[in-house]
Homo-oligomer: 152 residues x 2
């Protein structure tokens, strides 16, 4: 009964903005707001959020190639080229041949320092992000999100 009333209220409240009832729309808006804020924070150390994720994965994996990295991040091989080129030009990572055609990605010392700075920003950002979610929903968010894309 209470639920029914709440539901009717939400319909009335959303009459002029039907998008608010669509999880897909909420998801898109939440993500783009989140990305905008994270990007702003990472700009302080001249890093883009995509680049931060590259540093994280390169650091965590040995003999990671550009292709494998792209597969993990769901970024096309072709699009890895300018991404990695920028990081290489900034002296954050370098490549070492694994065989005739593959290269392992490795962090330079500068890259490791940058990663540390990035992790500080990201950790504090994630904390702020979760803090915005009402406590009763908090434990469900991560699992629900991952269900939406992993092996989805």
């Amino acid at each position: 009964m209470l639920l029914a009333i709440a539901f009717l209220r939400s319909i009335l409240r959303n009459m002029k903005d039907p998008l608010l009832s669509l999880p897909g729309y909420s998801l898109r808006r939440a993500a783009s707001a989140m990305i905008a804020e994270l990007s702003a924070r990472l700009a302080a150390i001249d890093l883009r959020h995509t680049e931060a994720s590259v540093l994280i994965l390169v650091n965590a994996n040995n003999d990671l190639t550009a292709s494998a990295l792209g597969r993990k991040l769901d970024i096309q091989r072709a699009n890895m080229v300018p991404l990695l080129a920028r990081l290489e030009a900034a002296g954050l990572l370098y490549k070492e041949p694994l065989d005739g055609k593959s290269h392992a990605l490795l962090l330079t010392d500068t890259g490791k320092a940058k990663l540390k700075a990035a992790m500080a920003i990201i950790t504090s950002f994630e904390g702020d992000l979760i803090a915005r979610v009402p406590e009763q929903h908090r434990p469900h968010l991560q699992a629900a999100l991952n269900a939406l894309w992993q092996n989805g």
Copy 2:
């Protein structure tokens, strides 16, 4: 105790992919996978997801101007121009002067038909989306997402 074991497992599982522990990353991936799929489905009626949201809001609001619409969708005034121009060129909406500088946006009959087709696709898409979320998390997703960006 069981929780602690589950937590340790998740750390081990994510050692090579630390990104999976970051809600922000999960959010980004979920959103981009969702957008890709919705876009693919809307392509069947030659509509982009942004355009669908415009049709929905124009239909639901009287005397909606381009600026007001942009504010609702969090799209810059400047970026509304090409967006609306495409919809106008497709004969889906038209403008009527409200005063010397503002125009009300209105759907044509073609636009209303297109909206109906879009809603069918979107409704079924949203259903599929929610179906992917384990039942115990489902009631929390929408509220958690909205908390992340609304008056956030």
